[in-house]
């Protein structure tokens, strides 16, 4: 096999491959300029390879006689050089059109002019005779001859000039081609640096290095010899040309396979792989069969037709399984791992179930869409509706978008009613400068995918233009629809998880608050020869709105039981403020009424008017055996005399913390040994067993019965009675009981 035959074969294969790639890319999206330009470039590349094949064949069969008819056809070979302007145009429009091309539309055509002219020149202006042959003044009428003869001279001079210059045209256009290629490569090089999408970036880098290498080889093979007037030997020439072609084709093919170049669909890429692998296999078969045949012929010395049949049978047996294995291998290498959208979804959903952070979900889905679907910008807008659903606030990542959208926004309503990925241009409202439309326009959205979780509006996946400038394919839209479903589940999970965490945190805080509150209660109950105390506290929640405390003033013992309105944390905060205030105010010796009034004023000043506290405050003088007290709107404490006679301590004023003008009175009672004072909060009498409440009557009756018991005994009797009454019903309100026994 001679060098030139092998060269012709490879040229033809490359040419076929380039045409095929061009067709695939053109078919993928005919309307896109990037695709058309790429296809054009590949066509001219293919044409170059084809011409090279034809050229070597012609040269082998005896070449061309100079000046013959075929020579002018041969000149048409220069057509392939249109590859260079096509390459430059490709560099200008890939992956996005440059501003220069967008602004000066003529530029797209202008860069082809020098080469078109070149073809015209070598075809029609190569010698002065050709030109004057078309335009012969002699054959015209006398008038025309007089009028046109000066023009004819100019034409003749021009023709002469072109004919002289023709001698240098190869050299000159080699320079032009070289500068076009250099410009294209430089352009691609500088533009890829500023690309945001890593996948596009690697595409461009691959194409760039492929083209760069191919162009370098081509330059060494043809342009340098033409410029400097030396020539390379045939094998070198073939090696360089084939190298350039194979590297160029390979780069584009590889970019399609590996990086989904030009967004070529899976099916085409698979076809491409089939084509390549089949071609490879057929080549291996032919080579092996030929070599083996020759070897057998040489050893047996005879030509056996049975041998051919045997080869074909062998091929039939082995071809299919080998083909399948090869196909599997190639698919696994190039396709399975990426971009097949079922794989994509599977991978993504597996990943999503393990993410419980909304920001991470958002980041991941954005990354996936930008990288795998080649979307310039994808934003997950999470919606937060207010209680009435009248206002929707959107957030993206950690950033809450300042502008909120009315629940009645027309675009929002359309998206919610369509429930599927929607091209915004189709539903764009009349006034796109406000509401959701403005918000979506702000993030450059072209397609909006509403995300709903069982009818609840979760958010919008806002997608910008595809990098290739294509519309979204039906495959993409299906993918986005499924993605939206998965996102709704993932975001719901994330929210639940966040709520659980938050709840856990709150519970821990509450437990801590409960500890603090318990520490605020007196550690020990005071007792002396003259008196003893017993107490019971049961908050209905972790923390309560009841408290009792003891406050000394010289040798007099003050004590207070208070009940803040409400329950839980707000009530607990109110009572701790009250407790601190009372401790501070108690230091000043003054009448009890004034003391409570000052507490009231402080509470009015520092709490909202609907928050109030009922409290009973008393000051016991053990020497005088006297109890001074003031009751601020609290349940009447029961004083059980030694003989079982009951008195109620009502004197005082209204609740504390509501009315600035409230004034408090006080009373003084003798408290003799054997007397019992029972102070309690309304949680005790309001304790219920579903049907009825424990009530004051029961408490009063109980109090009268246990006048002979000590403080602890009284407390226990009451608590047991209440617990027996309510049974397993948990307390609705905080329950507090303080029993004092004088002795």
């Amino acid at each position: 096999m001679s060098w030139s035959a092998l060269g012709t074969g490879i040229y033809l294969a490359c040419s076929f491959f380039l045409f095929l790639l061009g067709m695939v890319i053109l078919r993928e999206n005919f309307r896109s300029r990037v695709n058309r330009t790429t296809a054009l470039m590949l066509f001219f590349g293919g044409l170059g390879a084809l011409f090279a094949a034809v050229g070597t064949t012609l040269a082998r069969t005896g070449g061309l006689a100079p000046g013959s008819e075929t020579e002018s056809w041969y000149n048409l070979f220069y057509l392939w050089e249109l590859f260079f302007p096509a390459l430059l145009l490709f560099a200008l429009v890939f992956p996005k059109e440059t501003d220069a091309v967008r602004r000066f539309r003529l530029l797209r055509y202008a860069i082809f002019l020098p080469h078109l002219f070149h073809v015209f020149w070598v075809s029609f202006l190569s010698s002065p005779e050709k030109l004057s042959g078309w335009f012969s003044v002699e054959e015209m009428g006398p008038l025309a001859r007089v009028l046109l003869s000066p023009f004819s001279y100019v034409l003749r001079v021009a023709a002469l000039f072109f004919a002289v210059a023709y001698k240098f045209h190869v050299r000159f256009f080699s320079l032009v081609n070289f500068s076009y290629a250099a410009m294209a490569i430089a352009l691609l090089f500088f533009r890829q640096a500023s690309l945001p999408n890593p996948r596009i970036k690697s595409q461009v880098r691959l194409i760039l290095s492929g083209l760069g290498l191919a162009m370098t080889l081509y330059t060494i093979a043809f342009i340098l010899p033409a410029l400097f007037g030396f020539s390379l030997s045939d094998p070198w020439l073939y090696a360089l040309t084939i190298g350039a072609l194979v590297i160029g084709c390979g780069a584009v093919g590889w970019a399609i396979l590996r990086y989904q170049f030009m967004d070529v669909r899976v099916i085409f890429r698979q076809n491409l792989v089939y084509f390549l692998s089949t071609g490879l296999l057929v080549a291996v078969y032919i080579l092996a069969a030929a070599q083996l045949g020759r070897y057998i012929r040489n050893t047996l010395g005879a030509k056996t037709p049975a041998l051919e049949i045997g080869f074909i049978l062998l091929a039939l047996v082995f071809f299919q399984p080998v083909m399948e294995k090869l196909d599997d291998l190639i698919k696994r290498l190039f396709i399975r791992q990426r971009s097949d959208f079922r794989n994509l979804l599977e991978r993504f959903s597996r990943e999503l179930v393990s993410i419980f952070d909304l920001n991470q979900i958002s980041a991941r889905v954005t990354e996936l869409l930008e990288k795998e679907l080649f979307i310039e910008r994808a934003v997950l807008l999470l919606a937060e509706s207010d209680a009435g659903g009248t206002l929707v606030t959107f957030s993206s990542g950690n950033e809450v978008l300042a502008q909120s959208v009315s629940g009645e926004d027309p675009l929002l309503k359309i998206l919610l009613s369509r429930k599927q990925p929607t091209y915004l241009e189709a539903v764009w409202p009349e006034r796109p400068d406000e509401g959701l439309a403005r918000l979506l326009a702000g993030v450059g959205a072209k397609v909006a995918v509403p995300i709903l979780d069982e009818g609840r509006f979760v958010g919008i996946l806002a997608l910008g233009e595809k990098f290739s400038g294509f519309r979204y394919s039906p495959e993409d839209i299906t993918l986005l629809g499924v993605l939206a479903n998965q996102l709704s589940i993932a975001t719901a999970n994330a929210r639940l998880y966040a709520e659980t965490l938050e709840k856990q945190r709150l519970e821990e805080e509450l437990a801590m608050a409960r500890q603090i509150q318990q520490n605020l209660l007196p550690a020990r109950l005071p007792s002396s020869a003259e008196y003893e105390f017993a107490s019971y506290v049961r908050p209905s929640r972790q923390v309560g709105g009841d408290f009792y405390d003891f406050l000394w003033r010289e040798n007099q013992l003050g004590f207070v039981l208070a009940d803040a309105s409400g329950k839980g944390m707000p009530a607990a905060l109110l009572v701790s403020f009250l407790q601190a205030t009372m401790k501070a105010e108690h230091r000043y010796a003054r009448p009890i009424g004034e003391f409570i009034s000052s507490i009231n004023e402080l509470l009015v000043a520092h709490t909202s008017p609907e928050k109030f506290v009922t409290l009973f405050y008393a000051l016991f003088d053990p020497r005088e055996k006297k109890l001074f007290y003031s009751n601020a709107g609290h349940n009447y404490p029961i004083l059980v005399r030694q003989d079982g006679h009951l008195e109620f301590l009502k004197k005082g004023g209204t609740v504390v913390g509501c009315f600035e003008w409230a004034r408090y009175e006080s009373d003084c009672m003798p408290l003799l040994p054997g007397d019992t004072l029972i102070v309690y909060s309304d949680g005790l009498t309001d304790a219920s067993n579903h049907d009825e409440m424990f009530g004051e009557e029961r408490l009063i009756k109980l109090a009268a019965e246990c006048c002979h018991l000590d403080a602890e005994g009284v407390k226990n009797r009451i608590v047991e009675a209440v617990e027996a009454f309510t049974g397993p019903v948990p307390p609705f309100d905080d329950m507090t009981l303080l029993v004092m026994k004088a002795r």
Binding site: D563, E610, D686
Partner: protein
């Protein structure tokens, strides 16, 4: 506890039904009253005929309504108050603060007469 609101002769009548205990429905009623005052209600009757019992959160509502209306120069009257509620108002020593009437009609009329 459920409640409804009506208007009669420029008087807003709030009618709760059931026990007023601490809970979200009670908060709703308090918010509703607050909103009514904010949008201009100045004369209000709370009909307590359907409230057999209340705890301190009921007092909280009444006090909030009373203070809210007074601040705007308005007035609150209570109608058909039950014994247990009356006792609670007495215990908290708020009896003097609320004008009470045996029926809603009388309460409404009370606004026009200098009672």
């Amino acid at each position: 506890m459920k409640f409804k609101t009506d208007e009669k002769d420029g008087v807003v009548i709030v009618t709760p039904k059931g026990k007023i205990l601490d809970g979200s429905d009670t908060n709703k009623m308090r918010d509703k009253i607050e909103e009514l005052v904010r949008i201009g209600a100045r004369r209000m009757v709370i009909d307590l005929g359907g409230v057999p019992h209340m705890d301190s959160s009921g007092i909280r509502i009444l006090v909030a309504a009373l203070n809210g209306l007074r601040k705007e120069g308005g007035e609150l009257r209570l109608a058909r108050i039950t014994t247990k509620v009356e006792d609670l108002i007495a215990i908290t020593q708020l009896t003097g603060q609320f004008k009470t009437h045996p029926s809603v009609e009388e309460a409404v009329r009370g606004f026009s007469s200098p009672n």
